[in-house]
């Protein structure tokens, strides 16, 4: 712990970057509601809107990490709430695969989250972002090979 906080002090400018893929119907609506109800969360996330979380290709997640994202979120409707009947089930399956794959490549599990966020859960959206930013601040940047 002590080492980590020292490390943090050494890099006061470290601002983790998060890319979040949000489905149009639930999670993006949840992110909007966080705004409507003026919940505050750290400004580290950039949302890419897709119609369904089932549209999120694992390649997008990997691409985001390759391009320097410190964390990636794929957010969709709660199980059984999917606007497209079961797109989110596909998301869940791919998420399992991604989690394993990322772990093998040495990317910490905290850096990738699949989240079910409803249109009424502005608070949950804000909480997820807060948690992830805090996790990423603890972890620091992704270790470069040979570094």
């Amino acid at each position: 712990m002590a080492e980590q906080s020292e490390a943090k002090q050494d890099q006061p400018s470290y601002e983790p970057k998060i890319v979040a893929f949000c489905c149009n119907w639930c999670s993006y609506a949840g992110a909007d509601l966080a705004g409507t109800t003026r919940m505050q969360y750290p400004p580290n996330v950039r949302i890419v809107r897709v119609m369904c979380s089932g549209r999120v290709d694992p390649a997008f997640v990997l691409k985001a990490f390759t391009l320097g994202a410190d964390g990636v979120i794929v957010a969709g409707c709660h199980p059984s709430d999917c606007h497209y009947i079961n797109g989110n089930e596909k998301t869940a399956t791919r998420g399992d695969f991604l989690e394993e794959f990322l772990e093998e490549t040495g990317i910490e599990p905290e850096r990738f989250r699949i989240e079910w966020i409803a249109g009424s859960e502005g608070q949950k959206f804000a909480k997820v972002i807060r948690e992830m930013v805090s996790d990423l601040e603890q972890l620091g940047p992704i270790a470069q090979e040979g570094a």
Partner: protein, 1011 residues
């Protein structure tokens, strides 16, 4: 306009899920709709719910798209915050006077930004949050309100003028006239004013309003909502502690002879189960207990929900309990309840109590009845007939939703579509006359043109501008690749800015437009419309959400918010430069329908479609129309429906639009919405644009209770026949309920049997007063007004004996006679009766033909074998596949009036398809690159909408092709395609990747420059 001319417009009163559905169905079928709502926003009671049973769907998630669709429909004029004053005229031509209350806000100017409410110094208790949370004197009822226009409550406003000072849109106008009268002409009126929640504080023994920890069900619902007063935290109002155990008391203000409300409110049992389950999910370790009389889990898949609540969540259930009183421990505010547990009387202490406050007629009902001159029933709900469930006593005025009796959301929505169908049939000659079809200029060809992007950055008054450096963002945007023009606006959504955007598109020859403002979920259609008006394809537009997802959530970090805004604009511009114009496919429609099944539902649906002016084919496998209805001789109201059935048959035979195919079944169905081609077994081919599945159900053939072995053991339908012929000769009749339902194989309730038992029992007692009637039951589920029949049966001396499924009644032969033994659960004794007949109330089971029909139409069934609708709450008669609808017993067991409502609903939904010469599809669809496709069929298996199909392009070579008419554009298939052959238009992989790149691009130069 002369008196006899009909008007192609309809007034819908009430903006809840029922009113919205009726409005949308009519507006989509070529009628002008006025939607009148007393409160400032549409949404109704459903907008206050957290979750909905039995799927635990988030209520607002499913409601909100409907709100938006209603709010922006070009043929729906919303008259919110308005009341009905006077109605003159007759069916086809009503003159309606209404009063529009003043919001003290210029509606056209208010952007809904909310700065006014933030600065309003007056706090009061929010009606929407059932007074559990504060609200301001200038308010919207809830964040997703439609229209999103603020309202000043002049009763609370102190006129300080602060809001006026902060409103940069200059929308606030204190000196507005208090209300304005308006008159409109309509051909029909649909009543959907909903219901009110019973004021539980009238039941003083429960302490609601006195004991802080006693809440009504709707208050508790707000507490469970993540956007509610406690943000979804279940806490005791007395001390903010998290409760460890909660008691639910059922039947508060319904089924209650101490109140005028002796009817059952129908939904409270399921609502309590849902609340118990959800509360346990919110609070780990929470114990919940429900005190009830009968569990009324009578709907589709409800019984399974009940089992899950009991078995998986451990919700404790105490039957046969009407709690006498709630006592409070004044020191702890804990609550003590006395209840019966079997033979014992117990006391238990609870941290909180939730009252199942029932449904009462809406406050407006008396005034409505008076101005419309229609009949109300003795409880103050709108009077309807079992065989005409959407008709009021006044021709041309129809009713739907809880106003005609307490009911849940899907039944309300179905009835709403049904009412819309009736109105559409009445006004069929006027269809299309009053609706507006917007004309757009021809689209400019932008193919092969370099992107010329215009960026419009919004201040949103001070909503964005006070946090984000808007001029800085605009300056930044202007230098991004492809951007040739950028400007900032006070409100980009205002009328004058729309004009400006169009001018700039012309002046700078823009071929892509980006608006950085609020959320595309509410505003994208507005801006898409604007660019369309300027000759650009609507898909050449992109939004950056720098308000809801930036300035509002990073208010204390203006610099970071500005950086984020720049990133979001950069992402939007990057995507914009890769946007392509997308055609919206125009799918021609064959104006004819196919109805599968010629029972009551199929016949009703067919006749209504024919009346609306379309060709209909009814396919019935038997040689005669009528289905089960032919064996019903008296309804719950004591009416013989055979005359109605005969009339229905005659109307169909006489209607030139109707072709009846008897003794026929469907052999093959090809095609999609608007363009089906069906071949019947006999070889006939039918072209049609829509399908209604009304294949009915079957009566279970019991093998238990000596059925089929002893002549005195008969089925309920046999009893009905016997009564109709006057052949019943018996001293005693024992009716056994739940035969073949609510068991392991068929877990769900058959819904109709309790009412049928009451109808038969009352008939026996009326015609054969010497005959004793015993009803052997598990729960009596006479929901809604059928509770009256239950009460009447009890008054008429029908004896009710309750058995447990663990020890069902024993029926044994005694020579020609018969002996029934029952472990009676009220008195906990074994009772022996010697009836002359044992009548089995056999379950409603799914039609075995459903499987075949499901395969041919490629529509789903549920586990039991009934058909599965597109959405259990809000799309009760639609299949997920467009153009195919369902109704009646094919959907699930239901009563006659419910089947008729659904049949009318299916007809109305069919009208929305057939009323258009062609259907305009969405541009956001998937397309297959035939070169890359290997024809594996993975996408075909995956798609729930049946959009991709394999086509044989050359012998033995199959390629997938996506039917644009069926594709919903979710893009799941794109990811699953192993040969990367599918592309999702508007959400192409390269477009998404460019956004990721833009999101993560390091603006090192800029950062260095700053440092």
């Amino acid at each position: 306009m002369t008196k006899n001319e009909r008007v192609g417009a309809v007034l819908v009163i009430g903006g809840g899920p029922a009113g919205m559905q009726a409005a949308l169905d009519l507006a989509d079928s070529g009628f002008k709709v006025y939607l009148l709502e007393t409160t400032p926003s549409i949404g109704g009671t459903m907008s206050q719910l957290d979750k909905t049973f039995p799927t635990n769907d988030c209520s607002m998630c499913i409601l909100s798209p409907k709100l938006v669709a209603t709010g922006r429909h070009e043929n729906v004029t919303m008259l919110t915050y308005s009341v009905l004053k006077k109605v003159e005229g007759q069916a086809g031509n009503f003159k309606v006077t209404l009063a529009k209350y003043s919001r003290y806000i210029v509606e056209e100017k208010c952007t809904g930004c909310g700065v006014c409410a933030e600065h309003c110094p007056i706090e009061w208790s929010s009606a929407f949050d059932r007074e559990l949370a504060p609200a301001k004197a200038i308010y919207v009822p809830f964040p997703q309100a439609v229209p999103l226009i603020y309202t000043i409550d002049r009763g609370l406003c102190i006129g300080c003028g602060i809001c006026e000072k902060f409103c940069e849109a200059e929308a606030i106008k204190y000196d507005m006239d208090p209300d304005i009268e308006e008159t409109i002409d309509v051909g029909a009126i649909i009543l959907a004013p909903g219901y009110d929640v019973y004021n539980s504080s009238k039941k003083v023994m429960y302490g609601h309003g006195t004991f802080p920890n006693v809440l009504s069900n709707i208050e508790f619902e707000r507490m469970l909502s993540a956007s509610g007063p406690t943000e979804g935290h279940v806490i005791r109002p007395s001390d903010g502690d998290v409760p460890k155990n909660i008691a639910f008391i059922q039947c508060v203000g319904s089924r209650d002879a101490q109140t005028p409300n002796t009817y059952c409110s129908s939904y409270c049992c399921m609502a309590a189960l849902k609340q118990a389950v959800i509360a346990q999910e919110h609070v780990p370790g929470l114990k919940t207990t429900i005190f009830f009389m009968d569990t009324r889990a009578f709907g589709k898949e409800f019984e399974e929900y009940l089992h899950r609540a009991e078995d998986e969540y451990g919700v404790r259930m105490f039957r046969n309990n009407r709690i006498a009183k709630v006592q409070e421990n004044p020191g702890t505010s804990d609550l003590v309840l006395g209840f019966i547990d079997g033979a014992d009387i117990e006391d238990e202490t609870f941290d909180m109590v939730v009252l199942a406050s029932g449904a009462t007629p809406p406050e407006s009902s008396k005034a409505l009845a008076k101005s419309l001159g229609m009949n109300m029933n003795k409880f103050g709900f709108c009077e309807t007939d079992e065989l005409a469930p959407v008709d009021t006593s006044v021709p041309g005025i129809y009713v739907c939703g809880a106003f005609s009796g307490p009911k849940d959301i899907p039944d309300s929505v179905a009835q709403a579509s049904g009412a819309a169908g009736k109105a559409a049939a009445l006004l069929s000659d006027e269809r299309g006359k009053l609706v507006t079809k917007k004309e757009y200029p021809e689209e400019k060809d932008v193919t092969d043109k370099e992107p010329r992007i215009g960026v419009f950055v919004c201040h949103c008054g001070i909503n964005i501008g006070s946090v984000v450096d808007v001029p800085g963002v605009m300056e930044y945007a202007s230098k991004l690749p492809g951007v040739v023009y950028a400007e900032e606006n006070l409100y980009t959504c205002s009328q004058d800015t729309q004009k400006k955007i169009k001018e700039m598109i012309d002046e700078h020859d823009l071929n892509r437009v980006v608006v950085a403002s609020c959320t595309p979920r509410t505003h994208e259609p507005l801006f898409q419309n604007t660019v369309r008006e300027a000759g650009l394809n609507k898909y050449l537009f992109e939004m950056a959400n720098i308000r809801d997802q930036c300035s509002w959530v990073h208010r204390l970090e203006p610099e970071a918010a500005t950086e984020k805004s720049k990133d979001l604009v950069r992402m939007a511009v990057a995507k914009a430069s890769m946007l392509e114009p997308l055609p919206q496919p125009k799918i021609p429609v064959t104006p004819a329908a196919l109805v599968i099944g010629g029972g009551l539902s199929g016949m009703t649906a067919a006749l209504e479609i024919a009346k609306a002016g379309y060709e209909v084919h009814i396919v019935e496998k038997e040689k005669e129309l009528g289905g089960h209805m032919r064996r019903i001789h008296h309804t719950l109201a004591g009416v013989n429906p055979q005359e109605t059935l005969a009339n229905l048959k005659k109307d169909l035979q006489d209607n030139t639009n109707v072709t009846i195919h008897l003794g026929e079944t469907v052999e093959e169905v090809k095609g999609y919405i608007g363009n089906f081609e069906t071949t019947l077994k006999g070889g006939e081919e039918i072209k049609h644009g829509a399908v209604v599945v009304a294949s009915g159900a079957v009566e279970y053939e019991p093998t238990e209770y000596l059925c089929g072995q002893h002549p005195k053991v008969i089925k309920q339908t046999d009893l009905g026949d016997m009564l109709a012929k006057g052949e019943l000769d018996a001293k005693a009749v024992a009716i056994i309920q739940c035969v073949g339902s609510r068991n392991e194989e068929h877990p769900n309730c058959s819904r109709i049997c309790c009412s049928t038992a009451m109808a038969n029992a009352l008939k026996i007692r009326e015609e054969h007063p010497e005959t004793s009637v015993y009803i052997l039951f598990r729960d009596i589920r006479t929901f809604g007004f059928a509770e009256e029949n239950y009460n009447e049966a009890a008054r008429q001396g029908v004896r009710f004996l309750r058995y447990d499924p663990e020890s069902p009644p024993k029926v044994r032969a005694d020579g020609d006679g018969i002996i029934v033994e029952i472990d009676e659960k009220f008195i906990e004794e074994t009772i022996t009766i010697r009836p002359d007949y044992v009548v089995l109330n056999a379950a409603v089971h799914p039609n075995p033909d459903n499987k075949d029909i499901a395969q041919k139409l490629k529509v789903p069934q549920n586990e039991e074998g009934f058909f599965l609708e597109a959405h259990m709450k809000l799309r009760p008669v639609d299949f997920a596949t467009d153009g195919i609808f369902l109704c009646g017993l094919a959907h699930s067991p239901r009563l006659i009036d419910e089947s008729i409502s659904q049949a009318l609903a299916a007809a109305a939904r069919v009208n929305t398809v057939l009323s258009k010469p062609f259907i305009e599809g969405e541009g956001v669809v998937s397309v297959v690159d035939e070169e890359k496709c290997i024809g594996c069929g993975r996408c075909v298996d995956l798609c729930e909408y049946g959009a991709p199909r394999l086509e044989e392009v050359s012998p033995g070579v199959f390629k997938s092709k996506v039917n644009e008419a069926l594709c919903k554009g979710c893009g799941s298939c794109v990811v699953e395609c192993c040969s990367r052959a599918i592309r999702s238009k508007h959400f192409r992989s390269d477009q998404i990747i460019t956004m990721i790149e833009a999101a993560l691009a390091d603006d090192d130069e800029e950062r260095e420059a700053k440092a």
